[in-house]
Subunit: 410 residues, 4 copies
Amino acid sequence: MTDEFAATEEIELRGHIIDSWVLPRVFDTIMDLGGAFEVLSIRVGKYKHESSYAHLRVGAPTPETLGAIVTQLQELGAALVGEEDVESRPAPKDGVLPPEFYSTTNLPTHLRIGGRWIPLVGTEMDLAIVLDRARGYAATRPMAQVRQGDDVVIGHEGIRVLPLERRRESEAFSFMNAAVSSERPKKLVIHEVAREIREIKARGGKILVVAGPAIVHSGAAPYLGELIRDGFVDVLFGGNAIAAHDVEAALFGTSLGVNLASGSLVEGGHRHHMRALNAIRLAGSLRAAVDQGVLTRGLMYEAVVKGITYVLAGSIRDDGPIPDVITDVLEAQDAMRQAIPGVEMALMIASMLHGIATGNLLPASVRTVAIDINPSVVTKLADRGSWQTIGLVTDAELFLRELTLALAQG
Amino acid sequence: MTDEFAATEEIELRGHIIDSWVLPRVFDTIMDLGGAFEVLSIRVGKYKHESSYAHLRVGAPTPETLGAIVTQLQELGAALVGEEDVESRPAPKDGVLPPEFYSTTNLPTHLRIGGRWIPLVGTEMDLAIVLDRARGYAATRPMAQVRQGDDVVIGHEGIRVLPLERRRESEAFSFMNAAVSSERPKKLVIHEVAREIREIKARGGKILVVAGPAIVHSGAAPYLGELIRDGFVDVLFGGNAIAAHDVEAALFGTSLGVNLASGSLVEGGHRHHMRALNAIRLAGSLRAAVDQGVLTRGLMYEAVVKGITYVLAGSIRDDGPIPDVITDVLEAQDAMRQAIPGVEMALMIASMLHGIATGNLLPASVRTVAIDINPSVVTKLADRGSWQTIGLVTDAELFLRELTLALAQG
Amino acid sequence: MTDEFAATEEIELRGHIIDSWVLPRVFDTIMDLGGAFEVLSIRVGKYKHESSYAHLRVGAPTPETLGAIVTQLQELGAALVGEEDVESRPAPKDGVLPPEFYSTTNLPTHLRIGGRWIPLVGTEMDLAIVLDRARGYAATRPMAQVRQGDDVVIGHEGIRVLPLERRRESEAFSFMNAAVSSERPKKLVIHEVAREIREIKARGGKILVVAGPAIVHSGAAPYLGELIRDGFVDVLFGGNAIAAHDVEAALFGTSLGVNLASGSLVEGGHRHHMRALNAIRLAGSLRAAVDQGVLTRGLMYEAVVKGITYVLAGSIRDDGPIPDVITDVLEAQDAMRQAIPGVEMALMIASMLHGIATGNLLPASVRTVAIDINPSVVTKLADRGSWQTIGLVTDAELFLRELTLALAQG
Amino acid sequence: MTDEFAATEEIELRGHIIDSWVLPRVFDTIMDLGGAFEVLSIRVGKYKHESSYAHLRVGAPTPETLGAIVTQLQELGAALVGEEDVESRPAPKDGVLPPEFYSTTNLPTHLRIGGRWIPLVGTEMDLAIVLDRARGYAATRPMAQVRQGDDVVIGHEGIRVLPLERRRESEAFSFMNAAVSSERPKKLVIHEVAREIREIKARGGKILVVAGPAIVHSGAAPYLGELIRDGFVDVLFGGNAIAAHDVEAALFGTSLGVNLASGSLVEGGHRHHMRALNAIRLAGSLRAAVDQGVLTRGLMYEAVVKGITYVLAGSIRDDGPIPDVITDVLEAQDAMRQAIPGVEMALMIASMLHGIATGNLLPASVRTVAIDINPSVVTKLADRGSWQTIGLVTDAELFLRELTLALAQG
């Protein structure tokens, strides 16, 4: 089978490769990309907790295709047999990578330098890897931040990606490894999520909430405010909209002109919204507005008073904006990136844009719960190829109410 | 303007024709259908509670178009000036109407017989009207139930449709005359709905619930069961699926094989589902299953024990079915039709097929709340051209939990 | 691992069990249902076209759980080691099965009778199996059609389910084994589907179209009419709505009052719709209307003239209905069931209710393409656990236009 | 009625105030915001083309409420009787407005300065107005661009908003004043849009396309490329994603790793995507890449070669980005704002974020067509309170194919 191909490579797989579906995905990948394989040997553990082993020869019609296949297999945890050191080349210009650069996954990765395997610092997908061979150090770096001459990893030699094990315990993240449709019992899942939050907090882990403006429009901001006040939120990501609407609610009792206490239309258009923006701009910042007694309640008030880290990332549809909003998107990404270490769970609530952006930045190991009433959004957010992500197709307002209830019962 | 047209007719409008948007809709209708109009006179009340009056001449290029326009205007409340008695013709065959038959609206209607206006019995849209001129009696009748020789109303003379006034009080059905998106505060609306339910029950009105199977899948059946037990539901419409899944949950604790207490998959496919169907078929009916002690809990158990009216209407995708299911769709429609008199509010929860079917049968005056997580379904269900209908884009499970809470608080 | 359980059973798996993901799904199923396993032996083919073999011991805490697990594994193709003859028991009443009855899958199945394996006649899921042991014959039967005393298969001994192999060739049904979102190139898939249709027709296979009313509303009926006329459709399933709207379009040029040539609103409500129904009821049937020269064009006209099999299945929301509509849903299911043998491809176009009903009736081997603009509908229709089904999230109108173009280019 | 209120104001309405639904919306607005009114006089045109007149006294419980009501009525075209000059106050700080600032609509507006009505320069909603009283000049300005001391309009005196007339001719934008669901005939609408595009181009107007990345993923980029090459697109708005995917398609034939010619998966993840970004970054810009012969086809190639104006606005989820992308969102808004004058039609295709941003910038008079397969997106984009906007729930790929066909037929 593989004999007919000029280009071949031997790979090995170890661990729960059958139970975790790694082996069939390896077979699929090879065939989907136009290659072929031969199973040189295989050992399957007698019991499910035992580790297995497989040794394959992979063939492809061209070296390029073989490279593509091997790169994919590495993401699944395959290791090349007789592996060499990682290859690298200098960046030709600031913000530009050598053409054959290796692009990272969101999984823990090791690199072979001088015959030793060292861990990659900074787990995030679609980044470059910059080496310091002398110090035996390797770290991820965004394309735009690479400087001319940086020693950038290329090719696929000397790279090992460690796939996540699938968890089997009786918990939301094991039984719910796909999107939870609106037709499944969500109350159970929400209470599971509450239990995980308490566990993470108990061991000193951080909880990240990515929040969309519908939380304010739907009157659910007080629930999120309560979660912040009670210490269940360590990091908050959002945009200008959620902050502006929250300030509008705090100052005028409305969100986009809808009275949140009566549900009735108070005044059309964006008038209150624009005034809320202006009020914070006059104060200088959200913190200044709190200090000056201008902002005395709401989600952002709670975030300021509790002292949690929040990043407001600008978007092209922003009015104002609130002075805290980072209007340059690369700077905003970086501010988000800085806030992620230590985060063990991310709740993405009714926030497609910021949710996707956050998903790009998170290591695969962060447990992620994507909540939206639109199944397409949940599918997009939850589609990260990891057992750690669940999607909940449900109403953000009622989700937050239930989660607050569940955590209060704690 | 109207002079250029051979076919003209004069119409009058009375009441809150400007405030209720009747007059602009009249103008739109005439122009959309290719006609023209001339305002012969208009009087607008000085204050909003005063009634107004308008007198128009309507013209159209052909008598057919004029007929179409006038029919539409009648649905908006227009009356022909110098109106004649209603016209009729015998049905040519069983189940067949004379070609020019008048098709009803879902609004209260009066007919002119022998110079006197009499009310039409049975308000439902898209039906024929059968007259008993001798007794001065007129009633709606479905096409399929008309018998040869029945005296069927044709044309558009002698027919007055009474539009509903728009309510202005501070309540869900006034401030919420359109679909409530998932981005608006729904908790408020749910509490408003709870208040209306209590008012309707207090004055002896009936509440109809149209329930889809997702209520059971999502674990929300106990809430609906509680509403039935507490006397808040008088009539229940559903299909085979909700009854079968509810029985499955009562007998096996699962819904489509998902354990409702743990959320985990108990057993694939439809095995429990099929066994639940078989168990009730063996008993003979839901009531028999309750009497024999086979069925001891769940939604249908509560409905049987409480003695409320329920109609299970069959559909082409049914397994089994449960013996209570009416498998002929015309018979099922009729059973639903019989159960509607006295109903003042209809809750359509996660049920597109049965919800639309029920919407077809209800008078426009019945306050209708359509709840679904899919905005397209809500739009379809709520699009009945009446101020009495609201749509809620939200999660049925969390909606029922909140409604039960709101009604329990009394 | 399995020793701790009283209940154990040995199973064997043969074929492409790794490549086709059968083995990992077997492991998952055992663990998801609370069992454990031990791999007694495994042989993996050296090349992908070689067959593999696995021998497992499965344990569970109770015999009931073990039974549930084994039933699931059988659906994946597992065979019990040392298997016995199939067990059976007489049906206790008309339309009622013995409690432990075996419920079928939609996969080819063999039964062991008198030590010999015989094929099950009639592949359809969720049915009972009735045996004629004397003649060595076994056939599926719907629960409602079982008669008292029929010899019904129970338990899980002596039953072998043959899973479908995954196809690997370069074609729509191999590369597209999941739903095709609106964001993937659909023109390619449509042309692939056209190619498959031509192949199936060339070898004498049948094409089934399940058609929803939006096809008419959106002006796409002429494309479907063309496909029928050109012989690409052998069987048509639909409801009252598509036939009624099609007749309305043929008689009045409108669909629900919208002029299909100009897109403008001709006349509100259902007037033309009701008249169309009445006209066919007067004629007696669609065929009679064609014979009498009442119906001279449209989808149903083409179906009548071409003489293809069509089944119109009633639903609870029907007006009229058209006389050809089967108003009893069990009778309608049976009429659909009779029309399925020979069908090799099913196109489900903008039809959730009839699409799901058809999906329930089809063997897994029928290639199924589910087309709807609503991703939830596509997910529901395409979620049949088979490599043979693809879903296309796209516009039915433009899909049919492109398919007609592709088939015309033939 | 109004006597009971301390605060009253007299307003006048002129024009097609009944036909265009202005009068009933005025009544609704007053009552919805808690006011009352008295009709002092009314004159309705005898024929539909004649203008009407109404004179009302409006009352409210507080001057603040009256101000809110009057502001809303001004947006509907009401003029205060006995109106004074516009009021203004200096901006207190850079980027901060006086608290009572007037926030603009997207309708043509006149201001009374020194007793004379002058037109406002720059029609865009939610902006401030900065006056030059000496020169009799007034222009809109974004909050963030206001400088300390700028003379900013406040209150609601001396401001007249001119509502758009509703068009009645037989064209897409008259019969389609709401979202066109997937169930309506869209081919007709697409051909209407093509006709309008030709008319606009014939009279020298500009066409703006706002394009989302799904255009490339779905293989529809060549259609848009053809529209650009044929001169039907003057301005193109998009983000990093569409440009990056288009470059990926041009360089590698893939979009997010999917081969656009075969639909099959070439290589997982973002590898080609990242390389495409790197290639353009190496070249320096899209234009440089074209000049250097790196980029030789695709959408962006056509845009560069044709010399049309394009603005790529950054977003928080961007990789790379392409050097042409404006990463600061306020700068990007401004670049978009500069490109809008002269635009008479905007097509927003599968682009929620950039579509909403563009909608915020456009005058209400620009005919806008929002195309998306997700009805929620269409609703959001088309909900601009103008007769000039239509929404099409359809597939972007097939829409562009049909539009290209329709324009080629010319």
